[in-house]
Symmetry: C2
Subunit: 708 residues, 2 copies
Amino acid sequence: MRRFFMLMCLVCLGLAGRVHASEVTSPNGEMKLTFTLRDSKPYYSVSFRGKPVIKPSRLGYELHNAESLLEGFTQTGEKTSTFDETWTPVWGENKTIRNHYKELLVGLIQEKTGRVMNLRFRVYDEGVGLRYEFPQEGSKLNYFVVKEECTEFALTGDHIAWWIPGDYDTQEYEYSRSRLSEIRPLFKKKVTDNASQTSFSETGVQTSLQLKTDDGLYINLHEAALVNYPAMHLNLDDKNMVFRSWLTPDAQGIKGYLQTPCQSPWRTIMITDDARKVLSSHLILNLNEPCKIKDTSWIHPTKYVGVWWEMISGKGDWAYTSQFPSVKLGITDYAKAKPSGRHSANNENVRRYIDFAAQHGFGGVLVEGWNIGWEDWFGNSKEYVFDFQTPYPDFDIKALNEYAHSKGVKLIMHHETSSSIMNYEKHMDRAYQLMKDYGYDAVKSGYVGNLIPRGEHHYSQIAINHYQHAIERAADYKIMVNAHEAVRPTGLCRTYPNLIGNESARGTEYQAFGGITPGHTAILPFTRLQGGPMDYTPGIFEMQCSNGSRANSTIGGQLALYVTMYSPLQMAADFPENYEKHLDAFQFIKDVALDWDKSIYLEAEPMEYITAARKAKGSSSWFVGSVTGLKPHNSTLRLDFLDKGKTYVATVYADAPDADYKTNPQAYTITKGLVTAKSVLKLHSVAGGGYAISIVEAKDTKGLKPLK
Amino acid sequence: MRRFFMLMCLVCLGLAGRVHASEVTSPNGEMKLTFTLRDSKPYYSVSFRGKPVIKPSRLGYELHNAESLLEGFTQTGEKTSTFDETWTPVWGENKTIRNHYKELLVGLIQEKTGRVMNLRFRVYDEGVGLRYEFPQEGSKLNYFVVKEECTEFALTGDHIAWWIPGDYDTQEYEYSRSRLSEIRPLFKKKVTDNASQTSFSETGVQTSLQLKTDDGLYINLHEAALVNYPAMHLNLDDKNMVFRSWLTPDAQGIKGYLQTPCQSPWRTIMITDDARKVLSSHLILNLNEPCKIKDTSWIHPTKYVGVWWEMISGKGDWAYTSQFPSVKLGITDYAKAKPSGRHSANNENVRRYIDFAAQHGFGGVLVEGWNIGWEDWFGNSKEYVFDFQTPYPDFDIKALNEYAHSKGVKLIMHHETSSSIMNYEKHMDRAYQLMKDYGYDAVKSGYVGNLIPRGEHHYSQIAINHYQHAIERAADYKIMVNAHEAVRPTGLCRTYPNLIGNESARGTEYQAFGGITPGHTAILPFTRLQGGPMDYTPGIFEMQCSNGSRANSTIGGQLALYVTMYSPLQMAADFPENYEKHLDAFQFIKDVALDWDKSIYLEAEPMEYITAARKAKGSSSWFVGSVTGLKPHNSTLRLDFLDKGKTYVATVYADAPDADYKTNPQAYTITKGLVTAKSVLKLHSVAGGGYAISIVEAKDTKGLKPLK
């Protein structure tokens, strides 16, 4: 209703003309957005501190079987407003978040067709959000089909970019740092193998895309609030350095099906001269809708262990048997199958993990491979691949849940869908109900392999709607969702905080698939994590995998990730027996908090280093983490964020001087001492390493000396 | 297991050679099937009473991204066997059904690839079933993708065919009677408009296809047990008069995704010199698997009335309001909407139907348009079109169900999906649960418009799997399913007898869409009904529709349909007020049974006339129906099927001599008299008309005279 009223006001203003420019600046005046209608075509541009950052860039749509929404527009009005609100996330990096922007709403009508396309711009101190809005009232647009969204991001030069290849089906690539002009020559080499992948252009890249200009500006392009719309990629015109939106198509090559009143997701442009501000920004969350779940009491951050790294690293299997060339659920008789002896999700092993979790204070135990169907679970375009209900013969779902609950631990459910989303939807209610029946309250879902319905993609509108359905339906059952291989998040966890995690990037598993180049975890917070937390599954202490792969990291670096990779869901991914060899270092994982009152980014440069400090929610304790890329890093940490006048005990878990991510990854030092807000710590991280610090208000300082 | 064993036997036999012929004849010896491997290519042929009917015809597959399964085969063995069993359907035309055939199983291996493709032929006295079987053991075939099934049906001449255009999305066409050679020139004209339609070839036709040779043989081609496979069309090579299978593709143009062990549906060829035998045959049912539902006590034939013809004929609407240009479920506020005043599914009107049903002994009242979303329900490629749960403001689901139950009547649920099968699957469990909560035990589902997932078709494998899922999941909830616009049935109601109806052809609604040409109901039992009952919704007494259309039928002809169109689900489709004007004729609809101990087809010629007699289950009463096509028909009915020595009261509802389906459709006569097994009745039907007779064992013959 409010929207209709606003539109009517716009229409009443009745502004029109060949060229018209409208401006809006950020609250602090440094960011300026200009909207222009030039020869009836809509453009926008953005400047920061008076310097152009986004040059005049086209806006509009090509439609399927209908005249485009690119030109022929008249401006019907404009409205500026200011918004300033502080909200409290259910969980997050900070106790409260300020949402402060100036807004410009531009009314446009395509006179010839009577179709209305309004543009809403929100300008923050650190960036801009813009979206298309299609009202129903007063417009001749009702249902329409998108051939392409034509949003441009015209850059001012051949910037540095940290990019991964544009792909309709995966984001599990390593990041490349290159000039924009180098994307094309590098592209093919950067498309490494994945179980499902579809690139579309040799200058196509994904969002969130991190850029840096030669004069030191950090630009980040992404989207916020991706709902009922295909995910956006960016395709570079590398002659003119203009990115254009490139939506993910459906099986017929069509991009989107829209019905008024509706809007596009927000297209976001973050601009700052301080890399740390990219990390501390809440632009994406702020552009999402407030929480839609009324009772959120059941949503809780969780630290967990699990039967997962065994399979990933080659020690065990998801499958129960190696006897069947293929499986038909309901027909294949597992009771008669010969176990392979490699099935990790067996009663005894799961009990071992439950015991370990209980002993060390972990809330959850993830068990993958508990349910029948893993013998031929992907790569076969098999529709009915899992039923999400029937355990393997050696997984006693009732007894194991009872055992876990008796020890104060919850099992975490696993729903690998093999990307057969039609099959998952057929079984979803039963699957969620089974979880409730046995007392699971969180599920890790997976979308490995090509999508079914066949020809659709992981980031097509129909898949976006599936992920959204899974989240909303889970909320009906009070279930938390951690979706892997789903679309990269766009801040929807604000609206649906039961979306406690996503993968949607190259995660720790790639340490067991040949290793991850150091620096990966120093770019992810700039890119993938902009949209929401990642279930990165850190904590590898034994770098040598059974399958021969080696993790490129140090124990110090692994500990740091619990702070630098913000997530309300944190796994200690390694085996209990590997932690038991290093219980002193493991103590940090046990101690580190999951939810925070305050987060500060102390140092940051994409792919090189990130140092973060976070204050635990409802506590005076702080935790610091620092990761490095391919170069060693020296930190000079001023602990001036600590409460003045208080004395704290700091425990520093650092790379030993002789640590080396390739040859000596388990070399760490643990130093304990007293610190205050006046302390300055000098710390060294090796390449591919890092450090972690717990800082706890001192109750007993006996025998402790100040740290230097 | 048994299959594996059989295969091993075949392999052991180790037959091989350049040309090898195998034969099997029907139990009575009249039907003969010959299998030949010629130049390593498999062929079959069929003869009837020594005359070739199907000439040597190729068998095999083209595969996607793999070598074809068309040649290079060696015969590994063969096995013949005889089967003779009598089974009892949960409901049906006969109390018991005999399944008597001789079988030939041919083992084939493609030496070069090690892939096994066995062929199973079942030869009945009235026809042949053949299917491909792909074992897993001993074969190098596991997962495979079908480009095309290459089954041929090589005919002996330019036969007469009763055909409808081949189409991936609809069977709602009128039948044409023409020579095979005339299909191509007639084709385009025969593709009449439908909400979703996709023809593929100007000589493509659908099954069940009825043919007649110049020497009087009736040939019928269809398929049985269509499960996890796309529906088959037939494409005619009209130079050589060879039909080839043409499967329905998916969104990518691929036809099927198979996993061994598996088999194709049965391809059926019925051959007889007596048209009545086509109608009385149970070939299709016999080729389906036995009932898989253990407790069938909740499945019951039902006679029903409903709020449906009001909307179809233009008196009312499904939609509640005409105020909204489009609807978004969960956002559009119906409470504030202005009712159009044309919404038929309102409390008062539904109560009226409940009262009428209770008064006249109907078990069900179907209510369409009860749930929100109908304002823009099809043609918009809208994914979330219905929630199947939220009633319109003027439909009190609780009160109406309570009212119905208090009167001994059940409401029948309606789930129009608008072909958004992904949306239906998302809501299916909730929708079925809501039915149970309110005491519904049957659902009419609908699939109008283009399929979502977009690009898939109504008869694609993914849609077949959806319909199957809906049936099986409904059985879990003890719900009976009557699916409209779904794939035409293939006898699956034997296996899942909760599939109590289907539409999948031009039904009575087309009487309100311009009228149906007489003869339609005299071809449907030969074609569409071969696979299972049709919810034809007969019983129109007032031929003039509010929308200006006229039904091409007489009241006599309408009554006949309750016998000639076998269905365990029979609607009296017209308005209560129209029946109240003709309560004497309506009496037949009230009296006629729904389930039968015995069915006899007395007269039949495709599209011209069908006369059937059926004995009510567990009763001595018989019911006779006769429909005619475009020509009047005179029947000489020998009632020798009646119990000898018994006297019955027959009530004959016939076209009056001056009845005319165009100008005088409501002219009927009702004659009551005594009959015995020796009676011979001479009856006249006008064009587009018919008659119906109830024959009840006489308790009181007072005042009644023998009928002549």
